[in-house]
Symmetry: D2
Subunit: 273 residues, 4 copies
């Protein structure tokens, strides 16, 4: 199976790039499954239902979220009715929405997508490691199993926590990919047990910015230490950032992982498929 | 000027790779100035003087440090006598050692290296932004100036803080490069004002690990929440990770930035010089 | 039922004061149940089994712990065999020891003691609120119930989290008392629903110190930002700090709460019983 | 000199109690100098100029602030023109307002009030210890000096940092008193060097609440981990909380420290003057 994952979509710049670019990218990369983190799509804060619909219409099979999941209140009823948009699984019981999705993939296959939030330097949710363990134990991975691929979006700050995720589930899922820092990493690899891993997918947004927000105001906050104007997303052309993974349907494990960076200011990277 | 910067050297694996690989790398990349972050060289924690000497002997002009600066007590007298090894400049007045170094570069040129530590999700040191500002104001950058290039190693956790550094000093220094996450990023770029920027250089260490430490014990800490055995560095072959920058001596600003990844598990990247 | 709770015992000063003073205090206060937080008894870090035995011998029915629970490795086998010494209940499944104890109280009564750790500004354990809920749901409080009193030691940094605990369990337990800041608070009250509450019991230790540790070295850490000498407990006379609560066995709820401060530098407070 | 300090005034409940109660309290306690922390006066967040004027009119000589200093934008021009309202001194250079005030006290005396913010578990401002040191070095304390008393409001989360403040300035100022936790402590004492110390003055607000905010919504946040309704201050009767100190004008050091708690739910405490 070929999987395309795109990191945090930030504001109009990111949304426009995803809506305009995802169909072509999906086709060029022959992606069977597309997952997009959408937690910053709405002016940098949250995901309005209309934007979720636009990203799904552009080719995403699943949208994941993160610490900004609840910034737009309209998301709450939307999450209840749209199983393709998920929020971190390790919110406490009773939280609206779901933390995982199983989607049909062409070729009579199925894939599991789990979203989870780290805890180091972040809010203290439930244990994300046990949350992922609980989700994957509901399924059997590989040929003859209930799913042929599985992907975990670890929305987390600390590289150590994300890396611990990769190794903890190495051999048990197809891909562990981080989000949240809005910075693509260059440490993509297939871990020894067969799980593809990348510490952060990066954002889909304007990289002439402070993690997607207009650089002047965002940088000033570190100098002045007073709340300033509300931050607004940078509006230059976005780089679509993410990762592309090829898996073996027989095992559900990864055979190849490549970075994806298209458009905007960053160095370009596209797997040769 | 051509600058080679290598990120946090972790344990024996990282040290051995630097000592064995740096001479060839320096020569292949025609590097005029080599800076290496050495805060994890000693079994993952700190930098013993002997290891500093070995890294300098292998071709480093300056060694920078970070939050692990003081893990080895012997470093304190060593810092007082060895100006080429610097610790973050934003420790309070009275702290042993120096936060910046000016070094001679072939061709009758000079370069400033500043080391500073971020504060988001880290210990509350003095303001790192004003610390860098104070250091660069002592010099004039470019042809006819007191220095022809300048480099800031921002040892920090948060991508937002590092990015705010890049933009705050865009046009004022040659390179802002981050360290500390032990994960190379793929967002290297020359910012609009002419400063080369990369959120994190990555570590020089074994990437089959949790940020350089043996993966079993390090991952277990996230599951068990009890202190376990003392962490030890992973011992597989290291990837040397860093960044290569070309600057214009007339302005001191960057004309090109490329990632460097050599050896070990990560995808390889070497600028064509 | 009359309950005496003493906060974090720090080092020799605290231990000596508890061993010497607890028998008399228990008798003067006609305490039916005595609980002591012992996480700092061993030179400020952890609780060695011998010290636990000495505190139990002096009259404690239960000893609670906190973030320093594991500082002394010998505690691990000891916790497995000694049900009267408990560690925070919200460590993940598989953690050695227990998070709650039920003890016999004179007059054919029983009491539940739960220990839990907060998460704000502390390590991310499991949800402490649900952990307490799970423990108290195993019991029925009051006359004819399985327990006639219940006490929660909330080992936490933030006053907001401790207060949220008090209100969340108001009417459901006899006493919610905080520990960990090593500073006694003066906000003891019986909440509207009948639960006695005090944000922090304070420590049993020398108050001419920085939260129990020798003041010179401990204060210097805030000035120098370098690791200094290992901190050692202050050795002056201790103030025993805690809280005394009277409950109605019919309901298990509190009728009275009074602070206890005996010896040492602090203003003295002893309920008139 | 007799000093009365009242902790964080929270919302209408706290404001009303201060405006109604401070004149009588000041008179009963024969206070020569009154300082009130007002950072939560405006519906829990910030201090509107009208409320500052009301608190000054009720008898406060100086109003201090904290992390909520900037919640009401109108405070910025107000701080520039009203030297009796101060914000933490360790904001970076260029921050509006002042971090210290010198006020005239009856009997031809003068007193220095400094406000500073801690950094442990809080935003990374400049070093608060050096900030206080810099302020007090501008003055000479005692008979024949430029000031006869001095007071530091340490607005901080961690008891260790506040205690380190007390000891660091023991013998150099009249009073170190903490604010911010909204919980009065019972550890008031005159330190060995002659400085009065209390870890937290507590809030002036309704103590049937979560640190001053309505308890239902505030407690729910710990259970649900989603942003809920905006928090609003609790509206029951307030307890005025603070501390009273007597100093020797010859030395500027303290001879006596007593807690003050008047009205509302907490145990009452008033020094006999
Ligand atoms: Fe994001
Ligand atoms: Fe995020
Ligand atoms: Fe490092
Ligand atoms: Fe580091
Ligand atoms: Fe403790
Ligand atoms: Fe503790
Ligand atoms: Fe406050
Ligand atoms: Fe505050």
């Amino acid at each position: 199976m070929r999987i395309l994952f795109l990191g945090d979509v930030v504001g109009r710049s990111g949304r426009d790039a995803v809506v305009a670019g995802l169909p072509g990218l999906k086709s060029a990369l022959k992606a069977d499954l597309v997952v997009v983190n959408g937690e910053n799509a709405s002016h940098g804060f949250g995901l309005a239902p209309d934007m979720a619909r636009a990203i799904l219409a552009a080719g995403a099979d699943v949208i994941t979220l993160g610490n900004h999941a609840w910034d737009r209140k309209e998301i709450i009823p939307f999450l209840e009715q749209e199983p393709r948009v998920i929020r971190p699984a390790n919110f406490p019981p009773g939280t609206p929405g779901r933390g995982a999705a199983v989607v049909e993939v062409p070729g009579n296959r199925r894939a599991l997508v789990v979203n989870v939030m780290g805890r180091l330097f972040m809010d203290a949710l439930d244990d994300p490691f046990r949350a992922v363990q609980a989700e994957i134990q509901k399924h059997r991975l590989g040929a003859g199993g209930t799913i042929q691929a599985s992907l975990v979006d670890v929305h987390a700050e600390a590289s150590s926590e994300k890396s611990a995720f990769g190794h903890s589930f190495d051999g048990l899922v197809s891909l562990v990919v981080g989000t949240h820092t809005h910075t693509p990493t260059a440490d993509h690899q297939v871990l020894p047990g067969g799980t593809a891993y990348m510490t952060d997918a990066g954002m889909c947004g304007d990289y002439d910015s402070v993690i997607g927000m207009q650089k002047g105001g965002a940088a000033l906050r570190f100098w002045r230490k007073m709340p300033g104007e509300r931050l607004a997303p940078a509006e230059g052309p976005a780089t679509l950032c993410g990762v592309w993974v090829e898996t073996d349907d027989a095992t559900g494990l990864a055979t190849r992982i490549e970075p994806v960076r298209q458009g905007g200011r960053l160095s370009q990277a596209l797997p040769v498929v």
